[in-house]
């Protein structure tokens, strides 16, 4: 038996563009053509004004640390505690859950509002996850 693996996302027709994006090294968001709202998670209409005229664009990949926990127990399969589960506020507005890499998983190192940038971590041939690391100054 292999080691228990991290939960792996399974794309749907509405989210496929996002997961295609991470594989291509892009963080993709959606923008409403009617009201200019930028939103996440993916869906083929604007959750602000209900317009179906929405487009996908490549986000800057920059954001800041909005909040987090450092999980000790119980640990999710595929994770070695302690590990931070973070919510990142993207420069474009939406927030997303992620992990913070290249950074000690401690309260001292993980300062709220610290600047972050996206990094991509390949899980397998189909799925690449968007992770974040401290932005280079």
């Amino acid at each position: 038996m292999a080691e228990p693996a991290r939960a792996k996302p399974k794309p749907t027709p509405e989210t496929q563009h996002f997961w295609d994006g991470t594989q291509a090294g892009e963080l993709r968001l959606q923008r409403c053509g009617a009201c200019a709202n930028v939103y996440f998670p993916p869906r083929p209409f604007c959750p602000s004004c209900a317009s179906r005229k929405v487009s996908v664009f490549k986000a800057s990949g920059k954001g800041k640390l909005y909040s987090y926990v450092i999980n000790h127990r119980p640990a999710a399969p595929g994770f070695t505690p302690p590990y931070a589960i973070a919510v990142v506020e993207l420069d474009e507005g939406p927030r997303m859950m992620s992990n913070i890499i290249d950074c000690p998983q401690t309260p001292e190192a993980l300062e709220l509002d610290m600047k972050l940038e996206v990094a991509f971590e390949k899980l397998d041939d189909k799925i690449t996850l968007p992770m974040f690391r401290p932005a280079k100054a």
Binding site: K10, V69, I70, R73, P74, I85, M97, P107
Partner: protein
């Protein structure tokens, strides 16, 4: 909804609380239901409306032998029972049924006959939260709290005091799971679960259940127990994804449910004698005090740390000991409702003297859902 048109006439918990290795989850439902029916002096055949969560209403109705004319399977997490009370009150007023049974039970500790919970990999949570290591409520529910603390200047010691004060209430309650006094240092030195929260800031894991029986206020006066009237109600939902809340500085669902109930009840915060705020984790009473409008969020930590919610304080809060010290089978809302009913009947182990209005506020599915019920013992 009109005030005081519907009343609780039966209320009971399971015969045992805590670790109950000799009963399956469905039997815990039945145990609580039979106790509530006895409390109301009714027969099962008198019940014509049924509501429950997680377990389906058809499962519970059939197990108990009930043929309902009104059914509610609203299942939005631990506050589902607050929503059931609200929906049942509306249904009774509308004439859809006369006597409603609401049941909750979970074999949360012993896990006997408990339905599995899983997150499908192609759900939004499965795609955009589960891959990042969330694993059960302790890893999810506290995610907003560091932001809340920074925004409002709340300290770790102030949040630790939530657990300390609730243990003081639990010490007065023979049925509470944890009764020994604790200090701020005990809380802040207990085992780390998910920083910033430690063991004593996380709810218990127990077995148990509870049930309520509601009927119209004009019938309620003929029952053996003092009626507890429904004065105001509110409900809302926000998102099942904690990462997608509008802000971590408050709960949108709280801010809809709470004020809706206060408006319906026609009361102000000064009128509240007794308060329950569902405390799956120690930050929830702070969010509740702020979002229900008792005070600005900046003051919630200090208000609790100063002892205002402890026995003898001006706003008695979570007087059974709460999910942190009384019991928590997974969906605690029913136990908060039971304590409000006991306080309004005047029979609570830690009875608040002359209490006439009780506010009972629930949360469900992390911050996904909320329900608020305001009770009174005066018509």
């Amino acid at each position: 909804m009109r005030r005081n048109q519907v009343a609780v006439v039966g209320a009971a918990e399971t015969t045992e609380l805590g670790v109950i290795p000799n009963m399956s989850q469905i039997q815990l439902h039945a145990d609580a239901a039979l106790n509530a029916i006895a409390d109301a002096g009714l027969k099962l055949s008198d019940i014509d409306g049924i509501a429950t969560a997680v377990e389906t209403p058809q499962q519970i109705a059939h197990y108990l032998g009930i043929t309902p004319t009104w059914v509610d399977g609203t299942s939005v997490g631990g506050c589902s029972f607050m929503l059931h009370v609200r929906h049942a009150a509306a249904a009774i007023e509308a004439g859809l049924c006369k006597t409603v049974l609401i049941t909750h039970a979970e074999s949360g500790k012993s896990m006997i006959g408990k339905l599995p919970r899983s997150i499908p990999a192609d759900s939004l949570q499965g795609q955009f939260e589960a891959p990042f290591g969330v694993y059960g409520p302790p890893s999810m529910f506290p995610i907003p709290v560091l932001r809340y603390m920074k925004t409002y200047g709340i300290t770790h010691e102030q949040i630790a005091m939530v657990a300390v004060v609730q243990r003081e209430w639990a010490a007065k309650n023979p049925r509470a799971t944890m009764k020994d006094p604790i200090t701020i240092a005990d809380v802040l030195n207990s085992r780390m679960i998910a920083y910033p929260f430690r063991l004593l800031q996380c709810c218990l894991v127990t077995d148990g259940g509870g049930a309520l029986i509601l009927t119209s206020a004009d019938r309620a006066k003929d029952f053996p127990r003092k009626p507890v009237y429904i004065l105001g109600t509110g409900e809302s939902v926000e998102t099942p994804m904690v990462s997608q809340m509008e802000t971590f500085n408050s709960s949108r669902a709280f801010k809809v449910a709470g004020p809706t109930a206060f408006k319906e009840a026609g009361i102000t915060h000064k009128d509240v004698d007794h308060l329950m705020i569902y405390d799956a984790f120690a930050h929830l009473p702070l969010y509740g005090l702020g979002d229900l409008g008792f005070m600005p969020h900046e003051e919630t930590g200090r208000f609790i740390a100063d002892g205002n919610t402890r026995p003898g304080g001006k706003l008695p809060l979570n007087t059974n000991g709460g999910g942190l010290s009384y019991m928590h089978s997974g969906m605690y809302g029913m136990y908060a409702l039971q304590e409000s009913v006991r306080q309004m009947r005047g029979i609570a182990p830690a009875q608040v003297k002359d209490a006439k209005i009780s506010v009972c506020h629930g949360v469900g599915g992390m911050f996904a859902a909320s329900g608020t019920i305001i009770f009174t013992n005066e018509k």
